[in-house]
């Protein structure tokens, strides 16, 4: 009970911090939207012929969502480092609140911020005619998935922040997702890939997260894709939260 209350209090604190720093939040959403617009603008017109994808704009919406999650998580890593450098993190550790819950407050806030930005990006997509094949229930599933992925990815940056205390390392942590995005089905389906890239995309968890989100937006209900996406997110989270706990233990030993 105390853990839940602690996570709640510190989530609210992190969200308040985000609201008071609108320039940062604008960057988190505008940069992914810029790449979204450029990608759709540059290869959208040939996607149907080249890849057999009619709704390439909808195909790209999940890429923008994951890029935004990455950006959010990097800024949260910097926030954790600021807390460490100012001594505020120590002040939180000196309370009787469970220490893991203190770290999870900011991670949960990242999940909420990812949900908000997901809703915004989906809205932009709808304006540009992506449609949403699974309707409101599908949107709710997408938002829940985004919450999970936002938290899972944030765990990596929390671990980097706690272990290194370095703003540069935290900023670089946000970029870790980009190689994984490029080695996934972010821009084209696997069947047009070279063999080596197809293998990498198949073992890349980001591929399954993207496929799950795409199925909700442009394909309709596909339980198989959704389950694989959920499993990939859970796996991502298990790995990142384990690293976060280890980094927290290192910092407090």
């Amino acid at each position: 009970m105390q853990s839940i209350a602690t996570v709640y209090f510190l989530t609210v604190r992190s969200l308040r911090e985000a609201v008071r720093n609108p320039a940062q939040e604008a960057g988190n959403v505008l940069i992914p939207l810029f790449f979204f617009a450029v990608t759709v603008g540059s290869i959208g017109s040939i996607a149907a012929d080249a890849f057999g994808i009619d709704n390439f704009t909808g195909f790209q919406v999940p890429v923008a969502i994951l890029a935004a999650a990455s950006s959010i998580s990097a800024s949260a890593g910097l926030g954790t480092i600021t807390d460490i450098q100012r001594g505020y993190f120590d002040k939180l550790l000196l309370t009787p609140a469970p220490r893991s819950a203190i770290v999870f407050g900011r991670i949960a806030a990242d999940g909420v911020r990812t949900v908000a930005i997901t809703a915004f990006i989906v809205g932009v997509g709808l304006i540009f005619g992506t449609g949403f094949d699974t309707g409101v229930p599908g949107l709710l599933v997408l938002l829940v998935g985004s919450f999970g992925f936002g938290m899972a990815y944030s765990g990596f940056n929390a671990a980097i922040a706690l272990r290194t205390g370095s703003p540069q390392a935290a900023a670089a942590g946000g970029l870790l997702l980009f190689p994984l995005i490029f080695l996934s089905t972010a821009f084209a389906p696997k069947d047009v890939f070279a063999d080596w890239l197809e293998v990498l995309a198949t073992i890349n968890p980001i591929t399954y997260v993207l496929e799950a989100q795409r199925s909700l937006i442009i394909e309709g209900w596909n339980g198989f894709d959704i389950l694989w996406g959920a499993a990939a997110t859970l796996g991502f989270g298990a790995a990142s939260f384990t690293l976060t706990f280890l980094a927290l233990r290192w910092r407090t030993s």
Partner: protein, 324 residues
């Protein structure tokens, strides 16, 4: 029962022995001063006692609770203000204290009431709803102190609470600390590199140097242990210091001589009578003498006697808005 007790408390960072087997036994309701210069092990000790760092060896109990086995229970009993005022510039003072109160299980109207009460105690009522980033250095220290008191702890750890503050802000913090001990019976563990602060506030004192406690007792006891006047004779030529010490030591009634900062520090029972003999002896030996001062033993003399050097105070660079 001791408020704070430690036996053989040790912390090593790789090859560095930051704290090297210290023992503590601090009575409830007292102000305990932990005096030492930067890098002597004060902050590492406080971080172990407050459960932020795991000791390499040794045991410690705070309010009767083991710092390792009962770490969360220890944190319920203590308030801590570390050297850097650990605050969040984006929140307002009220938001920070309210969050702190909630993390200690003090929510609702009781929490709000306590927060308002604390703003009164540290004279920050007018700034309560301002972003902390707009506070001066002194205001931040006072808010940090308020945050440490939010749950009414029985034991308060203050790590160099006045370092970098101007004299007015320093005086204010001293006033709060004295009041907390005298009126509320709070045990205060205070680290400092200021002799005046230790002398003025502490009921009991330990001097730490290179990770070891080298002297302890009340300030009066420690000064009385020296038992003599102190005659400080500045020697003009640095290469004559050794010879000056030999000459002064041979003067009648002189108990001992130490060399520190270009001066011969002479311990003698009656300084007023001895000073002329000391200066004359030095003059006859051809040693040129500069300023001469006679004083009763101070904590600086205690520190000098224990460590062989004066306490070097390192002030941080003045921060923007450092005033109260």
């Amino acid at each position: 029962m001791s408020a704070i007790w430690a036996e053989g408390l040790t912390k090593h960072f790789d090859e560095v022995r930051a704290v090297d087997g210290i023992d503590l036994d601090i009575a409830p309701g007292t102000i305990f001063g932990f005096l030492g210069q930067n890098g002597s092990g004060k902050t590492t000790t406080i971080r172990m006692l407050t459960t932020l760092l795991r000791p390499t060896a040794g045991r410690a109990r705070v309010d009767g609770l083991d710092i390792l086995a009962d770490a969360r229970a220890v944190r319920r009993q203590i308030g801590v203000a570390l050297q850097e005022a650990g605050l969040d510039d984006v929140q307002t003072g009220r938001e920070l204290l309210t969050l702190q109160a909630r993390l200690f299980g003090l929510g609702g109207s009781a929490g709000r009431q306590r927060v308002q009460e604390l703003f009164g105690i540290v004279d920050l009522e007018d700034a309560a709803d301002r972003a902390i980033g707009t506070y001066s250095g002194g205001m931040k220290r006072r808010l940090d102190l308020a945050a440490a008191l939010v749950h009414r702890p029985g034991i308060l750890f203050l790590d160099e609470p006045t370092t970098g503050l101007d004299p007015v802000s320093r005086e204010g913090i001293w006033r709060y600390v004295t009041r907390l001990s005298a009126e509320d019976g709070i045990t205060v563990f205070l680290t400092t590199q200021y002799l005046e602060e230790a002398d003025r506030l502490a009921h009991d004192l330990a001097i730490i140097d290179e990770g070891r406690i080298i002297a302890s007792g009340s300030p009066a006891e420690m000064k009385a242990r020296i038992g003599t006047d102190v005659v400080t004779v500045q020697i003009e030529a640095p290469d004559a210091l050794g010879r000056a010490a030999e000459v002064a030591a041979a003067v009648e009634a002189v108990e001992r001589v130490q060399i520190a900062d270009g001066a011969a520090v002479v311990y003698v029972p009656d300084g007023a009578r001895a000073v002329a003999r000391i200066v004359l002896a030095l003059d006859e030996a051809g040693i040129e003498v500069g300023d001469v001062a006679i004083s009763r033993p101070s904590l600086d003399d205690v520190f000098l006697e224990a460590t062989g050097h004066h306490l070097q105070v390192e002030e941080p660079q003045p921060a923007e808005g450092g005033a109260a």
